[in-house]
Symmetry: C2
Subunit: 330 residues, 2 copies
């Protein structure tokens, strides 16, 4: 948490100040040719033994030790992939598991990814009534006044938000995004098997997720970057037909697409999440990249737990090729 | 975050071990005659100047200073009210505003309330896909394995959970609750003005909140304490008619009722949230209690910013009387 002056941003490139973060995301996708985001969702089980051993020998088998292991693991993966990708998506649940120490590593990870000029999507899925959503928005995207000074909070560039509470749960996030030139992705149709339980229920002839998608388009209409709104949506790769529909319902919204890889989504499933310009979607893979070293396909290429981060780099390259191939052949 | 042994709990009274936390909540409500919970949702604006001045003089106008001010404020309010009430509900958004330092104060507040034998409802409104919900459940209610050791996470007794992702977002919380004898409150009908935007939409002749309420009853059916399930619901005081309906839909679920006081709910609005036994609901007030010292009614009774915590005690007593009166005259 760093002190900032009223209109200062921590970024030095103008993004998040004059230039909206959604433009930075689009520019970086174009530059890398990679409409992908690496999900930094570390489970302690994923972390190679040598990293855990070093961390535990320094801090013991403690939350501080676990947090250190995860930090070293994240750092190695970021170092091995940052030049290939536009963005990362740390999932805060994986850090909250370890209490305050875990949250410190979340902050360290966000800050380090900013040093590497990555766009950081905080996967926090917050959402509450108005004044409380305002506090979450301040904490994750905004700035807080303390006496005569102003500090940035966790300072992600984007956050994921839950829509169940309606407009007055979303608006405080939108207000902070307008002020800070940041953005949100609102849950519309999630990637999990039971997402349909409520999201698919029919209201006036249309599923709930379509109503939510319409609201996303409405909330985002006056939140435009150059070509896309900074009010985006989350739609799971596991639901390609719904993605196709929602692409049309929210033409100006960027879609964050989880569920690729470990959850079952493939490049060919994803083509309809994109617009004709090849933009409009960013696909997340977490386990498939950060724990790639455990997959036989990479072991056969000489990967061991010692060079695990090289597997993450290979997995990123494979994912980029898979999606590019699918988009080229549509 | 404290180390614990596999089946050990931090509580020494058997609750959370053999005895379910829902039983502790019910027992404490009976003992205090107070079906209320104090919402520890501190905004820096609520904290009296002398507390802020002391904290800032020690730590500067920094996140650590803000966190210290909030901690001292919380502690004074807890000290002034803990013998009158069964439970507190810290709203984690208010702490996340101040980043890692704020989260430390959240943890300190949870721990201190446990020392005072209060039931702690973590108002965290988490919810994600299966494996991620499992991480949240571990972090807030469960225990995490680090090498050969086991640690409790933030260690609240209950957490609030968002249902938008369906059963596989909820089940990991239920699993941890079964194991730890803890509980959750699932958002059903929230207290905010726009809660109806999605929650009131009609599906097969019934509003979405009723479908969610039915699921809460189903999820909670095999999660019984002595008289009530430890899978509860959140229904706003601002919607008394919906509360009346949902009371019948979920007869065994405890209802956590926000929206009393500052949001407009009154005792008379609340009677139908309770069962005939006078139990089944617990009503939250946040600002109305923690910032009571700012109200004219308490200023007229000699309250100043210096004795702000006395106002909180008076406000708790007034709230207990308001609800008891409403229940007696129904």
């Amino acid at each position: 948490m760093n002190e900032v002056f009223a209109n200062q941003t921590l970024a030095e490139d103008g993004y998040g100040k004059g230039k909206s973060m959604i433009n930075k995301l689009v520019d970086k996708i174009k530059k890398t040719g990679a409409p992908i985001v690496v999900g930094l969702d570390p489970m302690l089980d994923y972390v190679p033994e040598q990293i855990k051993a070093a961390a535990f020998s320094e801090f013991g088998e403690t939350p501080a030790g676990a947090a250190e292991a995860i930090w070293q693991y994240n750092k190695a993966i970021v170092d091995a992939t940052y030049d290939l990708i536009p963005a990362v998506k740390p999932q805060i649940a994986m850090y909250e598991q370890f209490g305050v120490e875990g949250v410190k590593t979340f902050q360290k990870t966000v800050d380090y990814c900013h040093e590497k000029d990555l766009v950081v999507i905080g996967d926090v899925k917050r959402g509450d009534i108005g004044s409380t959503s305002a506090a979450y928005a301040t904490g994750h995207l905004g700035k807080v006044q303390i006496g005569s000074k102003v500090y940035a909070g966790f300072d992600e560039d984007f956050a994921t938000v839950n829509p169940y509470l309606g407009t007055d749960g979303i608006k405080p996030f939108v207000d902070v995004c307008k002020e800070q030139k940041k953005g949100i992705f609102i849950l519309v149709k999630t990637s999990n098997p039971s997402s349909g339980e409520f999201q698919d229920r029919i209201i006036n002839g249309k599923p709930l997720y379509e109503h939510v998608g319409e609201k996303v388009a409405e909330w985002g209409a006056d939140c435009m970057g150059d070509a896309y709104s900074y009010v985006g949506a989350v739609v799971g790769a596991t639901y390609p037909e719904q993605g196709k529909l929602l692409r049309k319902v929210m033409p100006k919204s960027f879609i964050l697409v989880p569920g690729y890889g470990a959850q079952g989504g493939k490049g060919a499933d994803l083509v309809h999440f994109f617009n004709e310009d090849g933009l409009g979607a960013i696909v997340n893979s977490s386990r498939g990249i950060i724990a790639a070293y455990k997959q036989d396909v990479y072991k056969e290429k000489g990967i061991t737990p010692e060079n695990f981060a090289d597997a993450s780099r290979l997995a990123v390259q494979d994912m980029i090729a898979d999606i590019a191939g699918a988009l080229a052949s549509r």
